[in-house]
């Protein structure tokens, strides 16, 4: 069913939690109501099927349910620096004028600032989407003195709290970052140093692959329940890296198990760690996976095996289809034939947008109420 912004209805009650996950097939964005009309946004993507108005989905969604972005969005978190997590982020930061910005400590180092500036030099700038977005974010935040200072995320750090005395919820709400680890921080900066262009070197775009392991895993504690946002975290055989390091941080913080899990790295096998399911999540939690379709057929995420594996452990929702929106209309047959004759195979990267929305009250016996929109669906076992 095509996604219609008018279908999303009204916003949550002031004392109701909401976690809405968008995933158009390439990209993801999570919008969270922490009570009392305050919102936080994690990552950003745009509605690629909308060529007329390709705004960030968070902006479109929040406006459609009557949220005043300029004052009600308290925090914007960039989990990591990948194209599928930062599209539209700069606009979102510009629009949400009172929001605090937060990202990995590694992205707030002078070396990274220099890298971003260097990729944007001269008339032949080689900045791709992620460089452009981040450069704009950094410039906007630096120039805005009224905005709260940027918060850096590392393992075991409290990023924000909404005390029950000031909010509409009967509990304290706490947002913690559980990564990146010290080792990952160090490796990220080493990588940036090795990719830093030097005099005489031909310009080229920033490498596509930067480590998912440097992404920020978030834990949002609502007293009686919790939400775990896995970003693109993956496993690694070095105990100082990946999910093993995150598990150590969670142990230090003595975190309660989460009843809702934004599954890491699009549900891939490399994002799976048994201990996460055993120690950080309740039994059969609600799980949301955002697809990643920018891979060859058969490798698109989540694969059928991924869906089976996660379904065995929890109630699974997928925000979109792995399939694209289909044939592009209006393309000249001569163009189609010409590409075909030259052996050039093209496929549309746009996929239909979907939204999984979870709402619940903070009460001992409450449970998540799920709604799906557009291409999102619940996986029936």
């Amino acid at each position: 069913m095509p996604f219609e912004w008018s279908d999303v209805g009204a916003g949550p009650a002031l004392d109701q939690i909401e976690v809405s996950v968008f995933g158009p097939g390439f990209g993801e964005c999570i919008v969270i109501h922490v009570g009392g009309g305050k919102w936080l946004v994690v990552d950003s993507c745009v509605d690629t099927t909308d060529r007329v108005d390709p705004k960030p989905v968070a902006e479109k969604y929040l406006r459609s349910i009557g949220v005043h972005l300029e004052t009600q969005v308290a925090l914007i978190v960039a989990s990591h620096w990948h194209d599928d997590h930062v599209r539209g982020l700069a606009r979102l930061v510009e629009v949400c004028k009172e929001a605090r910005f937060c990202c990995s400590n590694a992205l707030l180092q002078q070396e990274f600032f220099a890298f971003v500036e260097t990729m944007s030099t001269g008339t032949a700038a080689t900045d791709g989407a992620k460089v452009k977005e981040f450069r704009r974010v950094l410039s906007t935040v630096a120039a805005d003195h009224a905005r709260p200072a940027t918060k850096y995320a590392v393992g075991s750090r409290t990023l924000a709290t909404w005390p029950k005395a000031t909010g509409a919820l009967p509990v304290n709400v706490t947002l913690r970052s559980l990564s990146p680890s010290d080792k990952e921080f160090e490796l990220f900066l080493q990588r940036i140093a090795s990719e830093m262009p030097s005099h005489g070197q031909p310009k080229r775009a920033a490498a596509r692959s930067s480590p998912n392991l440097a992404s920020v895993v978030l834990h949002l504690d609502f007293g009686d329940t919790a939400v775990l946002l896995g970003a693109d975290m993956e496993i690694h055989n070095d105990i100082r890296r990946g999910w093993t390091a995150v598990l150590d941080e969670a142990k230090v913080c003595d975190l309660g198990p989460a009843s809702l899990f934004k599954v890491a790295h699009h549900g891939s096998q490399t994002g799976h760690h048994d201990q996460v399911w055993e120690r950080m999540l309740e039994t059969r939690p609600s799980c949301i996976v955002t697809p990643f379709n920018k891979l060859p057929v058969g490798k698109k995420l989540p694969t059928s095996a991924d869906v089976d594996r996660i379904s065995l452990r929890g109630k699974l929702f997928v925000t979109g289809s792995r399939d694209t929106v289909g044939h592009i209309r209006g393309r000249d047959n001569a163009v189609v034939r010409s590409l075909k004759e030259n052996g050039i195979a093209v496929r549309d990267l746009r996929t239909a947008i979907g939204l999984v929305r979870m709402r619940r009250f903070v009460e001992p016996d409450a449970s998540w109420v799920a709604e799906v929109f557009g291409a999102a669906h619940e996986v029936k076992v």
């Binding site: 220099a114 030259n342 746009r350």
Partner: protein
């Protein structure tokens, strides 16, 4: 036979029959980068392309006619070729589709690229992924095919001697090198930004 002399393109002689060794190189600067546009199978340097055209005035092809445009080179079916443009160009050539691409991954026989459609019905605004055979990359451009490399892909519709044909054009961008001054400027800008940034 008369001494060979350079062919001069005067109004009275504007066309000869196609010559496989003629044509075509065109270097153009775009967005600060150097594009090399050339026929896939016939690319020569600009000097090389002119030299083979040195024919004696008496040696002009008999079929050369007045007021007819120079014909394009022989197009190898199934190969990417350049549009017959430049000063030897055909009467009409129209770009009917254009994408800007960036190489994402390289395999033995093909490379994968992300395409952003910039021109043409059903193309402009599109976001696609393409698998392009390495065979279609000009020999001179092979070294440019690296992750992160930029290129332009066009489909041209040409009308040559009243005959329409489609020509697909793959052009890798030769990026300029980083200059010391611009690197220093970037680092200075970054330093200013960093120190203006409030973090807690």
């Amino acid at each position: 036979m008369a001494t060979p002399a350079k062919l001069e393109f005067k109004p009275e002689v504007t066309s000869v029959e196609p010559d496989e060794h003629s044509l075509m190189w065109k270097d153009t600067f775009a967005q600060g980068g150097l594009y090399q546009i050339g026929a896939h199978a016939h690319s020569q340097s600009i000097k090389e392309q002119v030299t083979p055209l040195t024919v004696g005035r008496e040696g002009l092809p008999r079929s050369a006619t007045v007021n007819r445009p120079f014909a394009a080179p022989v197009i190898e079916p199934g190969k990417l070729t350049a549009p017959a443009q430049g000063f030897y160009g055909p009467a009409r050539s129209q770009v009917i589709a254009e994408w800007h691409g960036q190489v994402q991954a390289i395999h033995d026989e093909f490379f994968v690229a992300e395409l952003r459609g910039t021109l043409g019905g059903g193309v402009a605004g599109s976001h696609e992924e393409a698998q392009i055979p390495m065979d279609e990359v000009r020999e001179e451009d092979v070294e440019l095919v690296r992750e992160g490399a930029f290129f332009r892909l066009c489909v041209n519709l040409e009308v040559v001697n009243g005959t329409k044909r489609r020509v697909t054009d793959l052009v890798f961008r030769r990026m300029p090198a980083y200059r010391r001054d611009e690197l220093e400027e970037a680092v200075a800008k970054a330093s200013t930004l960093f120190h203006a940034f409030r973090v807690e």
